[in-house]
């Protein structure tokens, strides 16, 4: 028989939950309520006071989960708001919704332009994008064409070059934009010619889309910064970046290219780390719409990138750099341009598939780029292994993005009348190999 001071079990449970009305609760606390009255007062079923009841009463949680506030001015509240935001992004079904949530809030961000006049820009860009640079090209590019086919393509390319340099009569060029006049049509013609000739060898090119002057943009965060002065002093902010790029033309395909290197492999090259603010580069901040765009909208089936062709603008003009005694900066600027453009393109492709900094890419995204000023060609291959560049996501992230690149090579030595002297087959060979790149799943028709 239970002592008077001890409450019967259901009442004790009810009292613990706080569900008893006050007077009854008080009475129950005093231990003076007889059992039938208590049961009737609280509509509690009379449970058997055995071991089963004891287990069931203590097994279920009796309190709701203790969460920090959502609106308080505290670190815990801020963490909770961030977690809820990340959960909302994780839960949104379509990549377009995720993009909209991630790029909704406008804040000051550093606008990174791929072609820049900054000194030593390649190391800084490597730090911003967590990229390791490997000189040379990856071994897994397609095999070169036999010499006979290459000779045919060579004659086509020579015709294209002579068309711009010799056959066409042109007006005097705009000041400081002379190179554009011949190079831009040349790139366009070369791409169309080569893509047309190589479609039988690479059926993927038949399914590809060729964009002219597409807009490519990407928005990401990397690193953190403590606000030094003002009403937000001592607050910690992420450092945001935006790339807006306009390649002269690009090829987009509906199938993803195979990776150049497996995701788990590590390479000896390091990512340089710079402990200074990006404004020292110099880089400037602006606040406007955060854009993530590969050249077409999310619904387009050709959502993977193949090759971009860039024109090396006046900022990268070789003669000017040599005259200013900055000859070593030529390759630096080309590398920076290649890395930034390709990181933006592959990052945007990954974002279109629903990956973001807290949901890292599952398989690498791969793209290629050619930067040229009409005579000198540089080739770049980029593999995006990770999008987790924010401080929170990067804590235990050992992956790094890889960029392979060549030095700039001349396509020809000189043009005398109708002859091209010193045509460099290596450049044509690399162009062809770039365009022949395809995933293994695509069947090849051998002509």
């Amino acid at each position: 028989m239970a002592a008077r001071s001890r409450l019967p079990l259901p009442l004790a449970a009810a009292a613990a939950r706080g569900r008893l009305p006050l007077p009854l609760a008080a009475a129950a606390a005093r231990g003076g309520l007889p059992l039938p009255l208590a049961a009737r007062a609280n509509n509690v079923r009379r449970l058997s006071c055995g071991r089963a009841a004891l287990c069931s009463a203590t097994a279920t949680a009796t309190y709701p989960p203790l969460l920090p506030s959502r609106t308080a001015k505290s670190k815990a509240a801020k963490r909770r708001r961030e977690e809820e935001f990340y959960q909302r992004v994780h839960d949104s079904p379509a990549p377009a919704d995720k993009l909209q949530l991630l790029t909704k809030l406008q804040r000051l961000k550093y606008v990174v332009s791929p072609q820049t006049t900054a000194i030593g820009a390649d190391r800084w860009y490597q730090h911003f994008t967590k990229t390791a640079f490997v000189p040379g090209l990856p071994a897994s590019l397609p095999a070169p064409l036999p010499a006979a086919q290459l000779a045919e393509l060579r004659s086509l390319v020579s015709e294209a070059v002579l068309q711009e340099q010799f056959y066409l009569k042109r007006r005097p060029p705009f000041l400081y934009r002379e190179r554009e006049q011949t190079a831009l049509p040349l790139i366009g013609n070369l791409v169309s010619l080569l893509v047309g000739s190589l479609t039988d060898r690479n059926p993927l090119l038949g399914l590809a889309t060729l964009d002219r002057e597409p807009q490519v943009s990407f928005y990401w965060s990397r690193g953190e910064r403590t606000v030094p002065r003002g009403h937000r002093k001592r607050k910690v902010d992420p450092i945001r970046f935006q790339i807006e790029d306009k390649p002269w033309c690009q090829i987009r395909v509906p199938r993803q290219l195979t990776e150049f290197m497996p995701l788990e492999n590590s390479i000896p090259e390091d990512v340089p780390v710079i402990h200074m603010e990006p404004s020292r580069l110099p880089l400037f901040q602006r606040q406007y719409d955060n854009n993530i765009f590969i050249g077409s909208k999310v619904a387009d089936p050709a959502c993977y990138g193949h090759t971009q062709f860039h024109f090396a603008s006046e900022k990268l003009r070789r003669e000017k750099l040599v005259k200013d005694k900055l000859a070593d900066q030529i390759e630096v600027r080309l590398r920076a341009a290649g890395m930034a453009s390709l990181f933006a393109w592959t990052g945007a492709q990954a974002a279109y598939q629903g990956f973001w900094s807290e949901a890292d890419v599952v398989c690498p995204f791969v793209s290629q780029a050619v930067i040229t000023d009409g005579i000198y060609f540089s080739f770049f291959c980029y593999q995006l292994n990770t999008l987790a560049l924010t401080v929170r996501a990067d804590q235990h992230n050992l992956r790094k993005n890889i960029c392979w690149g060549t030095e700039s090579m001349r396509l020809y030595e000189s043009i005398e009348g109708e002859d091209i002297k010193g045509f460099n087959d290596e450049v044509l060979d690399l162009l062809v190999r770039f365009l022949l790149n395809r995933p293994e799943s695509v069947e090849t028709k051998i002509s």
Binding site: T117, A118, I119, G120, M276, R280, P282, D324, K325, L326, D328, Q329
Partner: protein, 170 residues
């Protein structure tokens, strides 16, 4: 690097004042290149207030000087290879007032950030290093220090009193 510097060093190349810097001879097409052999400009190398990259040197320059002027100055006079120059003008306050309550303007100045070429680096030296406290035995400084310490000891209260003042007691 052969650039001598100190916090407020100035280099005056010509003691005679030239014509005023506002009136350069006006250039017309066909004129020969203007050459100045003894310039009236002088630059001050300063310690950067915020952290700068290793290849960046910070100068205070006259307002009338431009980026090409800075580049030519350093390259021609000091043979310092310059990759890039960026300038800004620092506005200084006009809010301070003197004892007559008149507003006193602190003069504005122009700052140039010079990036060195050919991979050169520059770190502003420590001009006021900490002096070692160790003095040679028998020197005047040591005797003086000893005397000062003994004097301080005499001024201190008796440690056996445990911090209690002399007001109490006999």
């Amino acid at each position: 690097m052969g650039l001598w510097c100190c916090e407020t060093a100035t280099l005056r190349l010509c003691p005679l004042p030239l014509e005023d810097m506002d009136s350069y001879p006006l250039y017309q097409y066909g004129n020969p290149q203007l050459r100045i052999f003894r310039t009236n400009f002088f630059m001050t190398l300063v310690r950067p207030g915020t952290e700068q990259p290793e290849d960046t040197v910070q100068f205070r320059i006259p307002m009338e000087m431009t980026k090409p002027d800075v580049k030519n100055y350093l390259q021609d006079i000091y043979s310092v290879p310059v990759a890039a120059v960026r300038t800004r003008i620092q506005y200084c306050t006009n809010k301070k007032r003197n004892h007559k309550n008149q507003k006193v303007k602190r003069p504005d100045y122009k700052v140039a950030y010079v990036q060195l070429a050919e991979g050169q680096t520059f770190k502003f030296p420590n001009i006021f290093p900490e002096k070692d406290q160790t003095t040679e035995s028998g020197s005047l400084e040591e005797i003086q220090n000893k005397f000062l310490e003994e004097d301080k000891q005499k001024q201190k209260a008796d440690p056996r009193r445990g911090g209690v003042t002399e007001w109490f007691g006999l």
